[in-house]
Structure formats: C-alpha cells, structure tokens
C-alpha cells in the first residue's frame, strides 16, 4: 500500500471516529441521532418478527401436529430464499403508494420483512415438532393426554429449542434487512447513514463506515440478546438442545 493510500485510510478512520464520537449524534432528542435511529430500526424489526411469529407459529404447530402439508413445509423455505429482499421491499412500497391503504413509511417495510421472515419461522417450527421423539408422543397418548394436551405439554416444550432457533435466525435476518429499507423509505433505522453516505460519494464515506459499524454491531448484539432470551424462555430439560439447534439451523437467509 502506498503512503498516499495509507494516509487516506488513516484519514478515513479518523473522520469516522470523529463522526461516531460527535456528542450531537448521541442526542436522544434528535431525529437524525443514533439513539433514535437505533430505536426506529428495532421497532421495525421487532414488529416484523412478532407479526411473522403470530402468523406462522400457530399454523405450523397445528399442521405439524396433524402431520399435514409436509411438502409445503420443506419447499416454503426455499421459495422464501429465492425472493430478493431488496425487490420485495421496493414492491411493497410500490403497492403501498398505489393502494393508499397504509402509509408509505413504516408498514410497507414491516410487511415486506414479515413476508421474508415467514418461511424460516414456519419451516423451523414445523420441523421442530416433527422431530420430537415419536415414542414420547405415543407414551403421552398412551397415558391419556388429549391431542391438545399432547401439542401443548409435550410437543411444544420439546420442540421449543428448534422453534426459537428458527425465530432467532429470522430475527437476525430481519434486523439485517431492515437496513435495506433505508434505500426506499425514511425508515430503515441505521441503514439510513449508509444509504445517505453512499449518495454523497467520497465525502460521505465516514458516514458510510460509521453506519456500517453501528449496523454490524446492532445485528451481532441482536443475535446475542436473542440467545439470552432463548435461555430464559426454555424449559430446563431442553436447554442443552438449544445450542445444537442453533448451530444446525444457523443458515436461514442472509440480508
């Protein structure tokens, strides 16, 4: 690396640090500030994942318990992967501008992200229930559990590590993809800095880099935080399964 280039990189690092340490950026009342953008980011992501869970988990539990729609469960995750998240976000925004049912800022992004999160949540939940040891389920039936009790007291707790692992993957993916929303809407949380920085060319590079660092940190923290939530939510007996499930299912879809 030449001296000039080296100097440029050092300059960029310095500018980025200055950008990040500017107290104004950490002002909780500023709409362009980091705290606000972080909250906005999480607001979009959490809304999308909650919506996806409400829609997918009960359906998947029901279908898996009844051993229905096996082919759907295995193909839905592949189909989901094939849909480009960027295209989907733009499409949802486009549809929102045309129908006028919802605003063009918050909901199109949340709904697009929900659609992206549905396949991994659905498939993981479905697979989780199907993988519960058949002998355990049979034993429960043999002792007189009703079908609803089998699902609620046996299948759900035993499947929960894999279900939560699936939701975790989807959540991290949603947090990552939320940033892409910044291209299209005023939402997009921390993605805003990156997109705006890119738009300003070389002058915007410190902003791009700072935004990227914040974004990467937020995603990794979201992943770690979900890991803690998993541990709190899981029943004692299956907690060890969680790590295994996590490693095995890591790959959902990248954002």
């Amino acid at each position: 690396m030449g001296a000039a280039e080296d100097g440029a990189v050092r300059q960029l690092a310095g500018d980025t640090l200055t950008w990040l340490t500017d107290p104004g950026r950490w002002d909780v009342t500023s709409v362009a500030g980091i705290p606000f953008r972080t909250l906005q980011h999480l607001g979009v992501s959490v809304s999308a994942i909650l919506l996806a869970c409400v829609l997918a988990v009960p359906l998947a539990l029901h279908l898996a318990h009844r051993r229905r729609a096996e082919a759907l469960a295995s193909s839905v995750v592949n189909i989901g992967r094939a849909i480009p998240s960027f295209g989907l976000i733009v499409l949802f925004w486009l549809l929102a501008t045309r129908t006028g049912w919802v605003g063009t800022q918050f909901w199109p992004l949340v709904l697009a992200l929900t659609a992206l999160a549905l396949p991994p949540v659905f498939t993981n939940t479905y697979t989780a229930v199907r993988e519960v040891d058949a002998a355990t389920v049979e034993a429960a039936r043999g002792m007189g559990y009703t079908e609803a009790q089998v699902l609620r007291r046996i299948e759900l707790p035993l499947a929960s590590p894999v279900i939560l692992a699936g939701i975790r993957i989807a959540f991290v993916q949603v947090v990552a993809t939320t940033a892409i929303g910044a291209i299209v809407t005023n939402g997009g949380g921390l993605g805003r800095y990156v997109v705006d920085g890119f738009a300003r060319g070389v002058a915007g590079r410190p902003t791009v880099l700072a935004g990227a660092l914040l974004l990467a940190t937020l995603t990794l923290l979201a992943d770690g935080a979900f890991g803690l939530v998993e541990r709190l939510l899981l029943p004692d007996g299956v907690r060890d399964d969680a790590r295994r499930a996590d490693v095995a299912n890591r790959v959902g879809a990248a954002g």
Binding site: R81, A82, I83, P84, T104, G191, L220
Partner: protein, 226 residues
C-alpha cells in the same frame, strides 16, 4: 405526492418488456456473472477451510463461528466496511457476496464428509487407499449430495443478494429495480420485472444444480434393496 403519480402506470407494461429484451438479457447475464464468481470463489475458499477443519478438528468451531459472524453482518454494512479497502467496483460486490457463502458451504462440506459411513472409510483404508486418493475418490463423491445441497442454498442466497449491490452501482437485475424506484414517477414495470426475473433465475439455478446432483449421484436413485 408520489402515490398519485405512480398510479398513472400499470404494474407491468408488456410492450416495454418487449422493447428491452437486450437490456434484460444483459442484466441477467451480469447477475449470473456475480453469482457465479461469488459462489465459485466461495466454494474454493470453503473447500480449503473444510480441509483444514477436517484435518484439525479443533479449528472447526472457530471457522464456523467466523463464517457465522460474516453471515450475520448485514449486506449493506458489509459493502460499506469493504469499501475503503476495495473501492467501488466488481471486486467489492463479489467479495461481499462471497462472505455469505462461506458458512453455508463449509458447514455442508464438513457435514457431507462426516456423513460418509465409517465402515466405508475403513474398507478403503484396508484395501490400501492413500489419504488424498481416498478423499477424492471415496469421500468427496459420497459427500456430493450434501455439498450440492449447500451449493444450492448458497447460489439462491447470493442471487437474492446481488440485487442489493445495486446500491454500489452494480446489482444486475437489482439495478433495474433501483432504476424503476428512482425514476420520477416510479416505473413499476422495472421493479416487477427485476424482482420476478431474480426469482426465476434463483429457481432455475436451483433446479439446474439439482439436475447436476442427480447426474453426479446415480447410485442414490436406485434403491430397491430387498
């Protein structure tokens, strides 16, 4: 308001598609080029990492952990982080895309090789195979279905992500989507066609790879053991 303006145009204007076949082909070709480069380079790196992980087991967890972090970092952030090093260009786009293939491919290659039955390895050793030939002739072919499954996931994932590189002036079909969005008023046909073609491309590549897997593993289809 944009909403009012956008309503002026239908979602899909077929005559525009008809007039722009050449552009669509060019963008699709570019999209495939990025995908092929990213998956190809990713596969080479992943094979090397897998050989290391298989030879020195202790490195498997760190390697997967590294892949996992790369996989978790948002694509947008990754472009930005690599920008100072690589500058705007194909190299930036491809490098960023490669990072998403590592976790998927290493995991599947290792799982595939691990899935080769112990007795098959022992029989190969017992008949005098040397390690390198055993790897190429016995382990790799038997791992093929799992490796190809990983390639399919990686390819489909990358095809979706290529669209995001539109932000740094590349993007294949993503460039079309972005153009449709930035045109004033927005041009729905570009957005719809760009997205749909990307999906079609992903499904086509997925099926092609499935076909390759079938062709490479004739033994897996004939199962009529009494």
């Amino acid at each position: 308001m944009t909403g009012v303006l956008a309503q002026a145009r239908p979602l899909l204007e077929w005559d525009w598609v008809g007039r722009n076949g050449e552009l669509l082909w060019e963008l699709t070709r570019q999209h495939l080029y990025f995908t092929g480069m990213a998956v190809g380079i990713g596969l080479a790196i992943s094979l090397a990492l897998s050989v290391v992980a298989l030879r020195w087991r202790a490195t498997l967890t760190p390697i997967l952990g590294f892949g996992s972090v790369l996989y978790t970092i948002p694509s947008l952030a990754l472009f930005a982080l690599l920008l100072p090093v690589l500058g705007i260009g194909d190299a930036l786009a491809i490098t960023a895309l490669v990072t998403y293939t590592i976790l998927i491919l290493v995991r599947n290659i290792v799982a595939g090789i691990d899935g080769v039955p112990r007795e098959v390895i022992e029989a190969a050793d017992g008949m005098g195979y040397r390690p390198a030939r055993r790897f190429l002739e016995i382990e790799l072919p038997l791992a093929m279905p799992v490796v190809v499954a990983g390639l399919r996931i990686a390819s489909v994932t990358v095809i979706g992500l290529v669209t995001v590189t539109a932000l740094i002036g590349r993007g294949g079909l993503g460039a079309l989507i972005l153009r449709g969005f930035r045109t004033l008023p927005p041009f729905p046909t570009m957005i719809v066609v760009g997205t749909l073609l990307s999906v079609v491309l992903a499904i086509t590549v997925d099926l092609l790879l499935l076909g390759v897997e079938r062709a490479l593993t004739p033994w897996a289809r004939r199962k009529t053991a009494p």
